[in-house]
């Protein structure tokens, strides 16, 4: 398992890609979930009772930063199928969408644009925000182990 990670991240491009994914995803989700505010001052804030949501965002960002570069490596270097990449992307998107629709600007825009359908969708995503994020993390974990297994197999074949 460590050999596979070393293989991918021995290339600086993938370390850089991983860092970009982690930082952009984490900051984006923290802003959408109102842990970070940009106006009128840049300020971070962790209200009591929201600690679990914060930890899930960090976990989701870290796993996405691990899984997505590994899958891109497989596609680029080993010329593997793009299909196996979908798990990581789907997991990341599901996790991001769950937190976006709430009482913030994204939820407000969705409800204003789509009316009652938007309100129902927003209510669903808000009500099940934590379970959805946990599901997204589960998808990323499964994708991670699948990718590791696949890398081991494909590298042995290639070597």
């Amino acid at each position: 398992m460590i050999q596979s990670i070393k293989l991918v991240f021995s290339n600086f491009i993938y370390v850089l890609l991983s860092a970009i994914i982690f930082v952009s995803m984490m900051i984006g989700l923290l802003i959408m979930s109102e842990y970070i505010f940009l106006a009128p001052y840049i300020v971070s804030h962790l209200p009591s009772g929201t600690e679990l949501g914060f930890v899930l965002i960090l976990t989701l960002s870290a796993l996405s930063a691990l899984v997505i570069p590994m899958n891109i490596f497989r596609i680029n270097i080993l010329k593997s199928s793009k299909q196996k990449m979908s798990g990581g992307v789907v997991g990341s998107i599901i996790g991001a969408v769950a937190g976006a629709c709430s009482c913030g600007p994204v939820g407000f825009a969705v409800i204003s644009t789509f009316g009652s359908v938007g309100a129902t969708a927003t209510a669903f995503l808000t009500n099940y925000e934590i379970p959805i994020r946990i599901m997204a993390i589960a998808i990323l974990v499964v994708t991670y182990f699948t990718t590791i297994k696949s890398l081991k197999l494909e590298c042995n074949i290639n070597s």
Binding site: P40, H45, P47, T126, N127
Partner: protein, 220 residues
């Protein structure tokens, strides 16, 4: 002679009681009778009663939804410090204006708060809603039955409250408030305008006390 003295005594006691009642209510909750009331550029005529001293130099206008969990976070994490340092000291007052957009129960909860206002209990009802909020939007915690149960727990006249809520008496008032929010570019809850003597500043989201302090202190 004695009869006159008794009548005079009753009148004096009634006047003293009236003055005492008006003084005690003006420091905590002032029912709005001014249909042209504005704070900065915002019409708060259809908003809540003023919490705190109406002549305070700063007014915090909060746009909120009773089902919004970020409003719940602000209510429990930031508002207590603002109440302690600014509202109770007479430096600021607060007006709540509804941006009830999150679900079917949101407008009804907002209307219920004004039905409670009819009986002089707006802020008690407001507080009980935010203390009773449950995580699920339209999950039943703010349906009509629960709204009536909250009123009952506050000791309101249930006949008056139920007829007010069931008739949709304050439906247009809530819609007016939602329109005020949209007109002022509020794009989510909670949203705030800090209105001071020299202008107003917008704050979006359940921001911490330090942000409010940084904006309000120079206004005093």
């Amino acid at each position: 002679m004695n009869k006159k003295a008794v009548i005079l005594g009753v009148i004096v006691i009634a006047i003293v009681a009236g003055i005492a009642a008006s003084v005690s209510s003006s420091t905590s909750e002032t029912v709005n009778l001014d249909m042209g009331r504005t704070h900065g550029t915002i019409s708060t005529a259809m908003g809540s009663a003023i919490l705190g001293d109406p002549s305070a130099p700063i007014t915090i206008v909060e746009f909120g939804d009773y089902q919004c969990h970020q409003c719940y976070n602000w209510f429990h994490n930031t508002k207590p410090a603002i109440t302690r340092d600014y509202i109770e000291t007479g430096k600021a007052n607060l007006v709540f204006v509804d941006l009830a957009f999150l679900g079917n129960d949101s407008p009804k909860a907002a209307q219920a708060s004004y039905c409670a206002e009819d009986q002089g209990m707006y802020w008690d009802y407001h507080d009980i809603l935010y203390n009773s909020q449950e995580p699920k939007i339209d999950g039943g915690w703010a349906n009509s039955e629960r709204l009536k149960a909250f009123a009952f727990s506050l000791g309101l006249d249930m006949e008056l409250f139920e007829s007010c809520l069931d008739s949709g008496k304050y439906s247009k008032r809530v819609q007016y408030n939602i329109q005020q929010a949209r007109d002022h570019g509020v794009r989510g809850t909670p949203g705030f305008f800090i209105v001071g003597p020299d202008g107003q500043q917008q704050i979006s989201g359940a921001q911490p006390f330090s942000v409010f302090k940084q904006i309000m202190d120079p206004m005093i």
